[in-house]
């Protein structure tokens, strides 16, 4: 993985959401922390081109997120804060197949890939279930499976354990820990983040700490005043 920010900033009208930023991301597991409204989600959305930089550039494995938008989306999958928003079809199997169908794959290839990803995440028994019948943790796993079925090398997760009970939180945490893809996780779940290779702290749209998890988490406590 090689993600590069070169003077990338985001402004909405007069409001600067993310100050100009220059850095590169290469580690396998990266955590993003910060208070609400600090610019974490904007930073993450810049990576797969869901948000375009107002100034500067962002490249993912050499692809510019603006000029090569479609290719960037294929490189970096994104799991939204509320996984229900990204689940389009009402049945688990149909939803996982959704992305593949739109790529024009043949039915047997779609079936093979869908079955493989269901097996990989241990959710094959949920294939025929309606999505609204799933627990929070299962819904999150379906969302992750539906993104990874198309084979992105990078997975960005926006607060993946938010609103989950302890059992479902463990389920999702263990799944994230076992992912072979490069993962970038935005989270307030510090026990999840503290095992990561690198943790970046944002505050008021600025990067204020970047380094080992323990140091960035210490800085986070200082920023939060607790």
């Amino acid at each position: 993985m090689d993600i590069r920010f070169s003077g990338a900033s985001v402004r909405y009208g007069e409001r600067t959401v993310l100050q100009p930023l220059t850095l590169s991301l290469t580690e396998r597991r990266i955590g993003i922390i910060g208070l609400n409204g600090s610019g974490k989600t904007t930073f993450a959305r810049l990576i797969n081109g869901l948000v375009k930089p107002t100034t500067g550039t962002v490249t993912v494995n050499g692809l510019d997120t603006v000029e090569d938008a479609s290719a960037t989306l294929a490189e970096a999958g994104f799991i939204f804060q509320n996984p229900q928003h990204q689940i389009i079809m009402p049945i688990v199997h149909e939803d996982i197949a959704f992305g593949l169908k739109n790529c024009g794959l043949k039915a047997d290839e779609i079936e093979r890939r869908t079955a493989a990803v269901l097996e990989r995440f241990g959710i094959a028994h949920l294939a025929k279930r309606r999505v609204h019948e799933l627990s929070g943790g299962e819904t999150q796993l379906v969302a992750i499976a539906s993104v990874l079925v198309t084979g992105p090398g990078i997975l960005i997760l926006d607060e993946p354990t938010n609103q989950l009970d302890l059992k479902n939180r463990r389920l999702v945490e263990n799944t994230i820990a076992g992912l072979g893809e490069h993962t970038i996780v935005i989270s307030h779940d510090l026990p999840l983040i503290e095992r990561f290779d690198r943790v970046i702290l944002f505050h008021d749209g600025r990067l204020v700490a970047d380094g080992p998890a323990s140091e960035s988490i210490r800085a986070y406590h200082a920023v939060a005043g607790c």
Partner: protein, 206 residues
């Protein structure tokens, strides 16, 4: 809630192909507009109601799904009775209700995925002529079916929030937050569809 509008089941309508169901619905719709006899329209309404309520929907759920459209039909009924005659209003009522019930039965017995696939297939000739993007239209139809219950759930949450705060439930005070919530959802869903690679070329897959 991601519950969609279709009900699982094994009724003849569930087993029928989506194309056949849509064709029958089209023929019934056109046919009902070609007649104005209450001797035809009332039996058509009764048959449609029987079909609708034997798709597996509970009576309560079935009626609840009809409520929003029933409101519109009642306004039309009153306007027609006032502007023309009671008989013309009755004809309109039974005709529209029969079509709505037939359409409701088709929706309840068709999986969203199958519906999207069929619409996309049917529009392929127009797609080849460059007149429409078949996949986009199919997805748009599917999204409507998929997210109508979500909008209804938003409406219920806002109504409950009004009651919890001791506020009177008024259409105007409900409409603004409902539109804002729906637009916000639509924005995120559009982003999610992009993120999930809708229209992603095949060569981009690993």
């Amino acid at each position: 809630m991601l519950n969609g509008l279709n009900i699982e089941g094994t009724t003849p309508l569930h087993r029928m192909s989506v194309r056949a169901k849509l064709a029958i619905l089209l023929i019934c719709g056109l046919g009902l507009y070609a007649v104005s006899s209450l001797y035809v329209l009332i039996p058509a309404f009764i048959i449609a109601a029987l079909i609708y309520f034997t798709t597996g929907l509970s009576f309560r759920e079935g009626v609840s799904r009809l409520k929003p459209i029933l409101f519109t039909i009642l306004i039309l009924l009153i306007a027609t009775a006032y502007l023309t005659s009671t008989r013309a209003a009755a004809e309109s009522f039974f005709r529209l209700m029969a079509i709505v019930l037939f359409a409701g039965a088709v929706t309840a017995t068709t999986a969203t995925g199958a519906f999207i696939d069929e619409i996309t297939r049917l529009l392929q000739p127009l797609d080849r002529l460059g007149l429409v993007r078949a996949a986009d239209v199919g997805l748009a139809f599917g999204l409507v079916l998929r997210f109508v219950p979500d909008i209804f759930n938003h409406y219920q949450s806002i109504r409950e929030a009004h009651r919890a705060r001791g506020l009177k439930v008024r259409p105007l005070t409900i409409l603004a937050p409902l539109i804002i919530l729906t637009l916000k959802d639509a924005d995120t869903i559009a982003m999610a569809i992009d993120a999930r690679g809708f229209r992603r070329p095949r060569e981009r897959l690993r």
